[in-house]
């Protein structure tokens, strides 16, 4: 098998949550491009219908399933619907998540409901999906879990509590999956996307075009799918519990502002 053939996902089925738009859609489209049938899940029916149409236009099979990721019964039903349509699911991409603007607020003003909804959306939802799918992956003799975390899962920011805690939880949950399911030929890994404004001019403006990112730009949606295909494919079969960060270099620094570059010569008498 040639190297690039290892990236092929022909005959596989992927389930992508939060696939109605943005990064989820980008990953779903690239998984399909690599040959997979894709179960496209999210809350909003019109958006997943659109993603499914795009995938079918590529000549791949696809199914839209509306799901409330915070409700485990709904998650179980989604997994059943996917299995009923495609026989088995080989690849799970836990991408659903996010936070509304109102969730970023001082700690002493966070209502219980914000915290719980946020953690349910960003952490529990992925746990429910894994719980629903892993037994059948074990039975099938293998599978791939790809969890989408965030820079906020490893570092912090002002008034960001719920999201940063939930995404950090997802990281170590992934390591726990890797530990427990390694012997079943199931690999669980993470993608850490940096800033991806999805060509939205307002968001690009908000993130100042990525001026504060070492490479000097924000991420393009099209850059994310290939990482997902890699982690879904046989090319990454010995990669487990790891994180692939697509973020333009911010995590290599962070202890000083972007562009921090002092020049300090050796003292002449010290050489």
């Amino acid at each position: 098998m040639s190297v690039l053939d290892k990236l092929r996902l022909d005959g596989k089925t992927a389930l992508v949550t939060g696939a109605g738009r943005g990064l989820g859609r980008a990953m779903a489209l690239d998984l399909a491009e690599a040959g997979a049938a894709v179960v496209v899940a999210s809350r909003t029916q019109s958006q997943i219908d659109e993603t499914v149409d795009l995938i079918r236009a590529q000549g791949r099979r696809s199914l839209a399933v509306s799901v409330d990721i915070t409700d485990s019964h709904s998650v179980n039903a989604m997994v059943e619907a996917g299995r009923a349509a495609f026989g088995q699911i080989d690849i799970l991409v836990n991408n659903a998540g996010g936070a509304t603007k109102g969730m970023f607020r001082p700690l002493d003003t966070i209502p219980d409901t914000h915290w719980q909804v946020g953690v349910d959306t960003n952490l529990s939802g992925a746990v429910y999906c894994c719980r629903a799918l892993l037994p059948s992956m074990v039975e099938q003799g293998g599978g791939k879990i790809i969890n989408i975390t965030s820079g906020f899962g490893v570092r912090a920011a002002k008034n960001n509590y719920m999201y940063t805690a939930a995404k950090a939880g997802l990281i170590n949950f992934t390591r726990a999956l890797a530990m427990n399911y390694a012997e079943h030929n199931i690999q669980a890994n993470l993608i850490l996307p940096g800033i991806f404004p999805h060509d939205d001019p307002e968001l690009i403006e908000f993130w100042r075009g990525g001026k504060f990112i070492p490479v000097g730009r924000v991420g393009q949606d099209a850059e994310l799918g290939p990482a997902c295909v890699f982690l879904a494919s046989d090319m990454s079969n010995y990669m487990n519990g790891q994180m692939l960060a697509l973020e333009g270099g911010g995590l290599a620094g962070g202890q000083a502002p972007c562009g921090f570059a002092p020049v300090v010569p050796l003292e002449e008498d010290s050489v």
Partner: protein, 257 residues
């Protein structure tokens, strides 16, 4: 437990790189907690000679024994001789603090191989010489504390920081390797991770300091004493179950996305 448990009375320490702000602060803090402290410079220069002599005087003015040597910390014989002198004059060597600091920052393509080697020799290889020399008497007495001072650049990158970052990262992982290697010899090996600190060689430029103050979560640099004092805890009998760890004194810098 009483606070007396942290006392370093009857312990003897050697601080290398005591010519730097953090090394001096560590040496003084150890002395203040009761240790006798020998000090050595990082470089054998007149400026550093004045710095270690002043550090020695500060230790002695606290009523502790001290001695100072102006050594090149990258010179194996210098380091070995200072370890031997410390034991012969103070009696034992219980605590070694490696605060070696040869600051250097330049774009990689402008770094000569001579500069690269020098930065690695002083900041990394010098620490290896000191650890090796100290391990001999420490394992013989089945007790010892080695504390390596590293900076944020041991953990993160910086533009122009290549050589310095490589050396510091080396010290950080040397700490973990030796912690395991000597875990059953009674020697603990830990690091104190210094955040951006007043008086740091890399931060001579005041505009650079200002830029960092604005950026850091605590909106200020560390005082050398805050970094040096962490060495007291790691050196104390209270820290016997801690090895291979880094205690970061960084004002939140590593949490910053």
């Amino acid at each position: 437990m009483s606070l007396a448990a942290f006392s370093l009375a009857d312990k003897n320490a050697l601080v290398l790189g005591a010519s730097s702000a953090i090394g001096r602060a560590a040496a003084c803090a150890l002395a203040e907690t009761g240790a006798d402290v020998a000090v050595g410079s990082t470089l054998a220069t007149l400026r550093e000679r004045a710095a270690v002599l002043s550090c020695r005087d500060a230790i002695q003015s606290q009523g502790r024994k001290s001695l100072a040597q102006t050594i090149d910390a990258a010179n194996e014989a210098d380091v070995q001789a200072l370890v031997e002198q410390t034991i012969s004059e103070l009696g034992t060597l219980d605590i070694l603090v490696n605060a070696h600091d040869l600051p250097f920052a330049k774009p990689l393509r402008d770094i000569s191989s001579k500069e690269w080697r020098r930065v690695l020799e002083v900041n990394l290889t010098g620490v290896y010489f000191a650890c090796r020399a100290a391990a001999e008497p420490m394992s013989a007495q089945h007790s010892g504390r080695i504390i390596n001072i590293v900076s944020l650049l041991g953990e993160r990158g910086m533009i122009n920081g290549s050589a310095y970052c490589a050396a510091q990262g080396g010290v950080l992982n040397l700490t973990r390797a030796l912690a395991l290697e000597w875990a059953r010899s009674g020697i603990t090996v830990n690091a104190v991770g210094a955040g951006w600190t007043e008086g740091m060689g890399l931060l001579k430029d005041t505009a650079v300091q200002e830029q960092l103050r604005r950026y850091l979560p605590q909106k200020r640099l560390a005082q050398p004493s805050e970094v040096g004092e962490a060495a007291v805890y790691l050196a104390s009998d209270m820290a016997g179950f801690i090895t291979g760890q880094t205690v970061w004194i960084e004002g939140g810098a590593l949490s910053h996305l």
